[in-house]
């Protein structure tokens, strides 16, 4: 089964098995992954599910949409080239693993 791996700022890592189509944000919230606040519940309105997409996962995920790009400007932790909103990343078909790094803070 494919999995999403969350890496905390202290290096702690947790992998959760998911079906294709699962979002990185909802999976984190449903499994109590620390550091994903997701106040708006997935409307790309709050920027509190900010993650850094691992280089190894970059090619599996569609690029940042205009709406997501706009909202990432509101992220509390520094925005980087690999910044994404976890609510906008779905587990693609035929991919074994998506890896994301959680920032130090969301609010």
């Amino acid at each position: 089964m494919p999995q999403i791996t969350y890496i905390q700022p202290n290096g702690e890592s947790r992998s959760i098995a998911v079906n294709p189509g699962a979002t990185v944000m909802l999976t984190a919230v449903a499994n109590g992954v620390e550091g994903i606040v997701a106040e708006c519940g997935g409307s790309a309105m709050c920027a509190t599910c900010h993650v850094y997409l691992d280089e190894a996962s970059h090619s599996f995920v569609p690029p940042v949409s205009e709406v997501e790009h706009e909202m990432l400007e509101s992220a509390t932790a520094a925005r980087r080239e690999n910044s994404r909103l976890a609510c906008q990343i779905e587990m693609p078909q035929g991919v074994d693993e998506i890896i994301v790094h959680i920032p130090t803070h969301q609010v």
Binding site: C40, G41, A47, V67
Partner: protein, 408 residues
């Protein structure tokens, strides 16, 4: 005799019901009715309105995240704009589908983003404390007019940048009309439309003009977005109107629901009073427990199955978010309990997906700031009479709520 309704019924295996979600009796206390709807099955059929309905959390979440199948362009009220002509011009953000939607949403998203909204915090806190200085000087007051209406009428309308004169008279009836339109065109809607036509609609049109907006407000920023080519020139005043109509009544009612919930559950107020930093989280529980927005519609673009139930194309689907927020399948055995220590994130009070409320961060800020200011100064809120409910087809709030407070 086979009626047209029963012919339609043959096409689906959804259980049907004669239940009417819009009667005053139901609106007085909708929650037992919502439980009945959830227990009918994942999808049901409302005979009276010839519409499908969904009242469970998982299925509503799914529908709201699939705008390609459950579209908004056919209207978010009961009428299907694909088959009947709309009562007004459809909203250019609420009632459009991708890819058109993303263009306006991007502008509104930036305008109302946390980075932009957080700049308002200091002013919002100042205004909350000034309002409380005046209100708390009285031993008894009407929580609706003195507090829950007064605060957003001041801070939200100031943030948008419209003139102060006329707000009380014209703004709330306008929003009332807009939210009634998320249901059927019933007597309630018609009465409200007639009332809004007595000045509100004209007044709104006037204050949304560029020359009437403050230079630094949210409204003017929409005109600047049009200057920059991000919007068509005629779209700027339409979106200013959208912000005004969507953001006022809803916040007024959210504050009403907060005051009422805390006066009914003094133990929860005691928790908040002891720790005002819980205000943000407490507001989220208010939104879950007493959703401001209760229901609206989507329209199927093709034949689709939801939880094993087949829905034909071009069908209106009522999504009862007020019920999803009380669904024990999502919230457990305590779904009907008001508990500010709960993690209420994932509630659907603001909807979700691409049409999730664009103004939710400003609404949260207003609610958080008012609750925190009250929590610091008030030990107890007592209800001093029966609150008078404000009947509306889609939103839930009050027209009066006599209270007394005990200062800390």
């Amino acid at each position: 005799m086979i009626t047209s309704i029963s012919v339609e019924r043959l096409e689906t295996d959804a259980p049907s019901t004669d239940f009417d979600p819009y009667t005053n009796e139901v609106l007085d206390d909708p929650y037992p009715h919502y439980e009945m709807l959830r227990e009918l099955g994942p999808v049901f059929y409302l005979n009276k309105y010839r519409a499908y309905g969904i009242a469970r959390h998982t299925e509503i979440d799914h529908v709201l995240r699939d705008p390609g199948t459950f579209c908004s362009s056919a209207g978010v009220g009961l009428a299907n704009f694909h088959t009947t002509s709309p009562w007004r011009k459809p909203s250019i953000i609420l009632e459009v589908d991708p890819p058109m939607h993303a263009r306006t949403r991007k502008v509104m998203g930036g305008l109302l983003s946390p980075a932009s909204i957080n700049k308002l915090r200091t002013m919002f806190e100042l205004e909350a404390n000034e309002l409380l200085d005046r209100v708390l000087a009285k031993s008894r007051f009407d929580a609706v007019s003195d507090l829950c209406e007064a605060y957003p009428l001041r801070v939200f309308a100031d943030a948008v940048g419209i003139p102060r004169e006329g707000r009380e008279k014209y703004l709330l009836p306008y929003g009332d009309m807009v939210f009634n339109a998320f249901g059927p065109v019933n007597d309630r809607f018609k009465a409200c439309l007639a009332k809004a036509q007595e000045g509100s609609i004209d007044w709104i049109g006037e204050v949304c003009k560029r020359e009437n907006l403050s230079p630094d407000g949210l409204g003017m920023q929409l005109y600047k977005a049009a200057d920059d080519g991000l919007l068509e020139p005629e779209e700027a005043p339409m979106l200013v109107r959208t912000v005004l109509s969507a953001g006022l009544d809803t916040t007024v009612f959210t504050l009403c629901n907060a005051i009422l919930s805390f006066s009914r559950f003094p133990d929860q107020w005691a928790l908040l009073h002891a720790n005002p930093s819980l205000s943000r989280q407490a507001l989220e529980e208010v939104l879950r427990y007493e959703s401001t927005f209760h229901s609206f519609y989507r329209t199927t673009t093709k034949e689709v199955e939801v939880a094993g139930v087949r829905l034909p194309a071009e069908q209106k689907v009522l999504v009862v978010i007020g019920s999803a927020n009380r669904d024990p399948r999502r919230w457990g055995d305590t779904a009907n309990k008001f508990d500010i220590s709960r993690k209420a994130s994932g509630n659907l009070a603001f909807g979700t997906g691409i049409h999730g409320c664009a103004g939710q961060m400003i609404a949260r800020l207003e609610g958080e700031v008012v609750l925190a200011a009250l929590a610091k100064r008030i030990k107890k809120i007592n209800l001093e009479g029966t609150p008078i409910i404000h009947y509306n087809n889609s939103v839930r709030g009050y027209t009066s709520m006599p209270v007394s407070v005990e200062a800390a």
